[in-house]
């Protein structure tokens, strides 16, 4: 499996020293360019924003400080911090996707049909998915409560409590992304070489050991790619949460993208909204670079 970073990952001990510099520049220059462009855009915006136009002459960084402090206060109130929940959803989807991929990795009747059904969430716009789930979890008319009451459990209003609202969001996210993982992992499973598995069968290895010591290590690069792609996407979720809860109840399910949107376009406080957007972007880019290192190493090990 060749993945991003294959071009950069050709360092051998001999020319390791020589290749360190370009490796660093390849990561730092884009980052600098990004910071430059985004801060330029922010500066531009402050020009539009009358209250902050005094800061327009000073450097953007100085203009950002009061914004950052206020956002920092919001973080302490646990408003932006809930982004971590996105990771939960991702882990759930990954594990479920892996199970499904293992289950589907053998020929059986009707495989085509199952595959098509699994592709369904890929076609559904996240907004539609969120609308559907919101409808199904409606406290008065939703099918979920009806079903729960049919088996004797009292239904509840899902979107008025923080944790049940979270549960619905995570469920939607898992529904949307599990198929994606399943397909990627299934494709990975099917391209694994046969011989090690035959050898293991001859040696009489148990199913669990084959999975633990053969499948999992050989599948690692694919898993890492999945995790990297999803981790980045999970942090920038907007549409599901916006349609499902709108950040409520009492802003407790507000992700940073919702926070930025709300401040910029609903409260018309563009300065604060864009500051939040930039901070979020910087955090995610930093995370992305760390993930990139992991990805690079995982791919190198596999070769």
């Amino acid at each position: 499996v060749k993945t991003p970073g294959a071009a950069a990952g050709t360092a051998r001990p001999v020319d390791a020293a020589r290749s360190v510099l370009p490796r660093i520049t390849a990561r730092v220059i884009p980052l600098l360019a990004l910071v430059g462009i985004t801060s330029g855009a922010v500066a531009w915006m402050f020009g539009y924003h009358p209250a902050a136009s005094a800061a327009w002459g000073a450097t953007t960084v100085i203009a950002l400080v009061p914004m950052l402090i206020r956002i920092g206060v919001d973080v302490r109130h646990g408003r932006i911090g809930v982004d971590v929940i996105a990771l939960l959803a991702m882990a759930g989807a990954l594990i479920l996707g892996l199970c499904l991929a293992l289950l589907l990795n053998r020929p059986f009747k009707g495989q085509k049909l199952v595959q098509t059904v699994l592709l369904l969430p890929l076609m559904v716009a996240p907004v539609i998915a969120a609308i559907m789930l919101r409808w199904m979890f409606n406290d008065q008319f939703g099918i979920v409560n009806v079903m729960l009451e049919a088996i004797g459990i009292e239904g509840r209003s899902w979107f008025t409590d923080r944790w049940s609202a979270f549960a619905v969001i995570v469920m939607t996210d898992i529904w949307l992304w599990t198929p994606w993982f399943t397909l990627l992992l299934l494709a990975g499973l099917q391209s694994l070489p046969r011989e090690p598995f035959e050898a293991a069968a001859i040696d009489g290895a148990t199913r669990w050991r084959v999975f633990r010591y053969l499948t999992l290590p050989m599948l690692r690069p694919v898993i890492v790619v999945c995790v990297v792609i999803r981790a980045i996407d999970a942090f920038r979720t907007f549409d599901i949460v916006w349609t499902l809860t709108g950040g409520g109840p009492a802003r407790s399910t507000e992700l940073f993208s919702l926070y930025a949107y709300e401040h910029a376009f609903l409260n018309l406080n563009f300065g604060r909204g864009s500051a939040a957007a930039i901070v979020g972007a910087l955090i995610i880019v930093a995370l992305g670079l760390v993930l990139y290192r992991i990805l690079d190493r995982a791919v190198e090990v596999s070769r």
Binding site: P4, A7, A26, W135, W175, S257, I284
Partner: protein, 275 residues
Amino acid sequence: MVERSFLAHLAPGARKAFFALTIAAVCLLFAFPVLWLMLTSIRPQTGIYAVHRGLEFTLGNYVTVAKNERIVEAFVNSGLIATLATVFSLMVTVTSGYMLSRFSGGIARTWFGSIYVFRCVPYISWVLPLYFVTQNWGIYDTYLGLLLPHIAVHICFFSWLMKGFFDGIDPSMEYAALIDGCTRWGAFFRVALPSAIPAISALAVLCWLFTWNEFLFALILTGQKTPVVTVVMAQFVHEMGIEWHLMSTTAVLALVPAFLLTLFGQKYVIRGLRI
């Protein structure tokens, strides 16, 4: 292991039945929300609050939606934008993916680094400055104002996938072509491009779906003049309540082109996802 053989002794077909049941349950779980949406869309307005009860079905919702000019316009707009974005971004991604796969060195590395970093930046951080840029350039609420950001985002994501596809194609054919006197561009157009057609189809399908389904860009960069499907759908939620029947009808209609396209491209998508 012990448990399994015990089960096998107890009932020979148990494992097979268990497998089939699991698959069926999973399929039901994944299909249920979509089926439920379809059911809601064919219920009359009086019946939607008890979708599971009653047997009145109607196609009236579809008629209402088809008569609504704004929704029809939104479908046309979305289709046009998705198609144009796919065409234009593929023009760049195919060549840039090829470059990332076949060339190494400073330029390729820097390009890869930048598309990776740009891909990491969340949409909300793009869309805030873009809002001002499009207004300043006078392209807010036009096709161009929505197309350009989409193309830019797709270039970042799909160059990465495209690189993976080209990595999977053996370059020795191109080398042979080069030795036979082909230019580098000739080798790309005559040898590499034809063998990458399945991958390009897969990308085209994904790209179209992403643009068709995208919400945030459309929400912020369009207004009254250029309605888009996803935004129109979200607008059924208003102060008077939510018009579930019309919303689900529009959602089902929005699913149709995506479904047809995926059915057509399924073979390619599954093969193409092999990174």
